[in-house]
Symmetry: C2
Subunit: 401 residues, 2 copies
C-alpha cells in the first residue's frame, strides 16, 4: 500500500496538459488560458472624465467665477476644439478631457444656465480625471497562461480587444463502468442486479471540473467485453474505469487489459474508502481504475481525478483544496490508512462550519453521501479527536461534486 | 437612496422561478430540481454481501469447522438454491445473500480447497451483510425539489432509476449594453471610443450562476435604439442593461423606456460602487439597469443579479454568501453607503484568508478587479477597522465571477 500523497504525485507526473484550441470570447468562461492575453489597446485610451460635470482650467474656476460653456464631450463624442481661458466644456463620465482642460468640476458643484457655468466649489487641478492607461496599456499581459477564466477575466479580455481566446482543450475522459449486475437507469434490471450510478456520477464530476466525459457502454464482467470497451478509449486523454479493481475472482479489469498492453503502475493505496485503485497506462492512454462501490468511486475521484483533470486542463495541479471546520462529534484514533469520513456540514450564522461524521460510513450508501457535504480527512495514525476541535475537510459542494 | 438589503428584498419579491423542463440525467448536473426524485427501486434490492467471502450459517462456522461450498453468488448472479447445515456459498461484494445464510465469512478469514472452506476465525451472525433498503427504499424522496444537483446527486438519481429529471428551465437573461462610445471586441473602435466589456462579463456571470445569457446588439445612446433593443427582451425572464442609469443628460435608459411601458420601482441605492441602479418592470419583464462602469456593473451584478438568478432558477434566494477573512491593512470609518471594497485575497498554508484592499478603488479598473479575489463588505457607518481584524468578504472566485 502506498500513501495517498505519493499516489497523487505519481498520477500527476504522468499527465501533460491538453493542447490549445481557439474559442470565441463568450465560450471562454471557465476555460484555462493556453497563452497570455496581451492588451491590444490602452484603457482608457486618453485622459477621460471620471464623473459628469465640466472640463475646465482649475486656475479659472474659483467659487463664483463665470465660465463660458463652449461645447460638450459625452463618452464617445470627443469635443473637437480646446478649452481656453474662462471656458468650460460640458463633460460626461468616460468623455475625453479636451486639450487645455486640467480639471473636472462636478455638476453638483456648479450652477449652469445661459451658456455659462458658475462653480459653487472651486475646482482642483487633476481631479476626477482618469489618465490614459490607468487600467492597462497596449502590450500589457493582462491575463497569464494557466489561469481559469472568471467572468471578470472575460470582461478584461473583452476590454483588451480580444474576440478570440486560446485555451486548453477540455480533457476528454472515457468513463467505463464494468459489471454483470448493473443496468442503465430505466433499462431492464437483470435478476439480482442494480441500477448503474457510477458512470453518470463520475461524468458529472468530470463536467464539474471542466472536462468532457465520454460515457462508454457498460462492459460485462468478461475479459473480451472489457478489452473491447477499453479499445474505445484510445482517443481519450484518460480512461476511467469503475469496478473490477480489487483482488476477487470477479475483478477482471487488470487481467482483461494486460493482454491489451496495459502497464500497471500501482493498485493499492493506504486510504479508506478505496484501497484498491488501479493506476497505469493502456498503450499511451493513462488509466485510473476506481473501486465499484459508489461512495469509494466518488471519494477516490475527488482525491485523484479532480487534481488529474486540473493538470490535463493546464491548471497548476496539486491536492484538492481543504479547509478547516469544527468537528461535530468525537472520533477515535485512526489506523494506518488515510481516512475520508463522510460528514454533514452545517454553517452557523457567523460563518463557522461544523462537520459531523455520519454514524454509518458504509461505502455503498449514496443517499447518505448526497446528504453529506464534506469529507473529514484523517491522516494515518491520527490520534483520537474530540468534538469541537478543528479538523481538515474537503467541501464537496464547492467542487460541484 | 434605499439600503442594499431593502433593494434586494424588492428585487427578489418581484421574481418567480422559471417553469420546469425535462432533461436527460447527464444534463441534470448543476440544474435545480423542480420536482422531488422518488426512488423507483430499493437499494440494495435484497440483502447483499459487503465483502468478498463465503455466505454461511454463523452457527456452523466456528474456527476450524469444515463447510461444503455448494455454489457461488457473484454480484448480478444470485445463487439459485439455499444454504443448509454445514454448507457455504462463495460470495462477492454486492452478491445476493442466499436463503439460509445469516453471515459472511471474509475470504481472508478462511482457507479453501477441494470444495471445502474452513474458517480461521469464527463467523459472526449478520456481519458484512448489507440489508435490503440500507441506502434507500422504493418511494423514498431521495432528492428534494429546489436542490441544485451535484455529481453525488446525479449518482443518487441514477441509482434510484431515473433516466430523466424535471428541472427548472435556465433563466434567460437579456443583456443590453448601451453607449455611443463602445464597440464589440475586434470591431472598429469609433473615435474616442472603447471596447465593450460589460455585456460579455455579465453574460459569463449569468452562465456561472446557471442562467442562459442572450447578448443583445449594442444600443447607441438614442431613445429609439434603446427602445427597439429592449423590445427584443420580451421573451426573457429578466432584462439587464448597462450604462445610462445615472442622472446625466446622456443617461437615456429610463427616458427611452418610459414610453415603452417601463414602470420604475427604484433607482438609487446606498452602496458604493453602483449608486445608480434601476429596478423596474418593462411590460411584464423585470428589468435591472446596472451602471456603465465595468467594476460597478460587476459588483452590482454580484450583489443583486446572482440572488435574482438563484430565485429565477428555483433555488432558495437570499443575499450572496459571505465569509470572514483577516483584514490586510487599516480601513477608515465608512459613510452612509454600504461599501464593497476590491481586495486581494491570499490563503496561508493553514487555510487562513487575508483580504487586502487595493490602494486604488476606481470603478473603471477591470485589470485590478480581475486581480482582486474578493470584495470587503463595509456596512453603512462601519467604524474604522484595523489591519488584522476579522472582516466580512464576498469570495468572487468561488462564485465563478
Amino acid at each position: 500500500m502506498i500513501p495517498v500523497a505519493e499516489a497523487l504525485e505519481r498520477i500527476l507526473s504522468a499527465l501533460i496538459p491538453a493542447p490549445a484550441e481557439t474559442v470565441s470570447l463568450p465560450e471562454g468562461w471557465g476555460r484555462v488560458l493556453a497563452r497570455p492575453v496581451l492588451a491590444r489597446v490602452t484603457q482608457p485610451p486618453a485622459d477621460v472624465s471620471a464623473m459628469d460635470g465640466y472640463a475646465l482650467r482649475a486656475a479659472d474656476a474659483a467659487a463664483g467665477a463665470r465660465l463660458r460653456v463652449i461645447g460638450s464631450a459625452p463618452a464617445g463624442h470627443p469635443f473637437a476644439g480646446a478649452v481656453g481661458l474662462g471656458e468650460a466644456v460640458r463633460i460626461f463620465t468616460g468623455g475625453a478631457v479636451p486639450p487645455g482642460a486640467d480639471s473636472i468640476l462636478l455638476q453638483e458643484d456648479a450652477t449652469a444656465g445661459d451658456g455659462l457655468v458658475t462653480p459653487t466649489e472651486a475646482a482642483q487641478k487633476g481631479r476626477h480625471i482618469r489618465r490614459a492607461g490607468l487600467d492597462f496599456a497596449a502590450g500589457d499581459a493582462v491575463l497569464e497562461a494557466g489561469r481559469r477564466l472568471s467572468a471578470r477575466d472575460i470582461g478584461l479580455a473583452a476590454a483588451a480587444n480580444h474576440p478570440w481566446l486560446h485555451v486548453h482543450r477540455r480533457p476528454r475522459i472515457g468513463v467505463l463502468a464494468t459489471g454483470d449486475e448493473i443496468a442503465l437507469p430505466g433499462d431492464p434490471i437483470p435478476p439480482g442486479g442494480i441500477v448503474s450510478s457510477n458512470a453518470h456520477a463520475l461524468a458529472a464530476l468530470v463536467r464539474a471540473s471542466g472536462g468532457e466525459p465520454v460515457v462508454l457502454p457498460i462492459a460485462t464482467d468478461d475479459r473480451d467485453a472489457i478489452a473491447a470497451a477499453a479499445e474505445a478509449a484510445a482517443r481519450c486523454d484518460l480512461l476511467l474505469t469503475t469496478g473490477g479493481a480489487s483482488v476477487g475472482e470477479h475483478d477482471l479489469v487488470q487481467s482483461a487489459l494486460a493482454p491489451q498492453g496495459f502497464s500497471l503502475d500501482f493498485w493499492k493505496i493506504a486510504m479508506r474508502p478505496g484501497k484498491p485503485l488501479i493506476w497505469g497506462d493502456l498503450r499511451g492512454t493513462p488509466m485510473l481504475g476506481l473501486p465499484g462501490n459508489p461512495v469509494s468511486a466518488l471519494v477516490c475521484a475527488v482525491i485523484f481525478l479532480i487534481p488529474a483533470l486540473r493538470r490535463l486542463s493546464g491548471l497548476p495541479a496539486g491536492p484538492v483544496e481543504t479547509r478547516t471546520a469544527l468537528l461535530g462529534r468525537d472520533m477515535p484514533a485512526n489506523d494506518r490508512r488515510q481516512d475520508y469520513v463522510r460528514a454533514e456540514l452545517a454553517r452557523a450564522a457567523d460563518g463557522t462550519l461544523t462537520a459531523t461524521p455520519l454514524a454509518v460510513q458504509d461505502s455503498s450508501m449514496l443517499a447518505a453521501l448526497a446528504r453529506a457535504g464534506a469529507l473529514v480527512v484523517r491522516p494515518p495514525h491520527a490520534p483520537a479527536a474530540p468534538a469541537g476541535c478543528s479538523i481538515e475537510i474537503v467541501d464537496l459542494s464547492s467542487l460541484g461534486v
